[in-house]
Symmetry: C2
Subunit: 218 residues, 2 copies
């Protein structure tokens, strides 16, 4: 069972490798990938071990085969169907990226309580009224849910998703959801992320007011 960090890195590696592949077939070294992903070369090699994919000494890793190996590991072949709940500004932004004809990680249904939003297409995805959630989830074999509703409604939505047989939830609402043990939840709080950046912008070890020695010399 790989750690969350390992899975995140593998996902990032694959993205970076697609970029390399676009420039033509070739090999990649651990230190090269490490530089792009901001990790150590040893970390990359360790992730390769988790993956079970072997490179060759002095030759590195074959980019195309490595992508295939990561894809197999992340299990994309299953082509998970996802549902998004809460078609507000953030919900629409995510729909615009993950609805439509993407091959993997496709949002196949959106849900909202607003009658002005439901029963029409939004960014290529049909928007259902929320009370249809469980039924649509079972019909379309949806196993991953995305929560983009206000925090006050988040738990209610999570309950409905679990009722519909969800197995993973990406939660953008600033609320700690209570779900059964078999449901995996990941929280992504944009406000917290912004406050963290704002804090370290003004508290980073090196300040603009106190230039480093190199800068002072100039």
């Amino acid at each position: 069972m790989p750690s969350e960090k390992t899975v995140e890195r593998l996902s990032l590696y694959r993205y970076l490798l697609y970029g390399i592949l676009a420039d033509g077939e070739r090999n990649v070294f651990s230190h090269e990938l490490a530089g792009m992903a901001a990790v150590s070369p040893a970390q990359v090699r360790q992730d390769m071990m988790v993956l079970g994919y072997s490179g060759s000494p002095n030759q590195g890793y074959e980019v195309g085969k490595l992508i295939a190996s990561i894809t197999e590991f992340l299990d994309d072949a299953h082509g998970r169907n996802m549902a998004l709940v809460g078609v507000g500004n953030l919900g629409r932004a995510i729909l615009s990226n993950f609805a439509g004809q993407r091959s993997r990680l496709q949002i196949v249904a959106a849900f909202d309580v607003d009658w002005q939003i439901v029963n029409r297409m939004v960014h290529g995805c049909w928007c259902y009224p929320l009370d249809k959630l469980s039924g649509v989830m079972r019909d379309q074999d949806i196993t991953v849910g995305i929560i983009c509703v206000p925090p006050a409604a988040a738990q209610e939505v999570a309950d409905a998703l679990c009722e519909g047989g969800v197995r993973g939830i990406l939660n953008f609402a600033p609320y700690r959801l209570q779900v059964p043990d078999h449901v995996y939840v990941s929280n992504l709080n944009i406000t917290v992320a912004l406050e963290k950046v704002a804090y370290f912008a003004h508290h980073s070890p090196v300040r603009l007011e106190t230039p480093s020695r190199e800068e002072a010399k100039v």
Copy 2:
């Protein structure tokens, strides 16, 4: 110098405490806050120490004063001005949350290259052409930037932000930015977050197909 995790937790605590405060003035115990934030009570107490805020044995922490203490620590009094670059779907979603009359963490200027978007208000925020970035940043004392542009344009935008004197960047583009040492960068990759959830949805230790012993008994 607190860790990133500590700052994230403090931001989350404050959010949770506002919720408690809304129900009336009272005290809160470390285990109560720990339960809401999904950390250990010891973690909460350790964060209080970082904060320099003391509770009383058997009484816990005063919610109102604790909020004030966190706010002082996170340094909101400065009221950081932020700029957002890339007024696409995601950019607009973030503007809708952080532009306008919010007291803290306000986005005061948006930027884009699309002439159909610029030179008008978007969700209460004026949208400038990108080439005005450095000037507007200096005029409005902007020190935090948010990058919501496609990855191919991310580095160029980061360079312009640094040119304008930025000190912190929240980067939504799947690209590892190169910036001077004094600029703090935090990356938030929604695709990676989704792929992680999709992975663990289908690889969580407890499966629906293999009920635990308790479930099997029933």
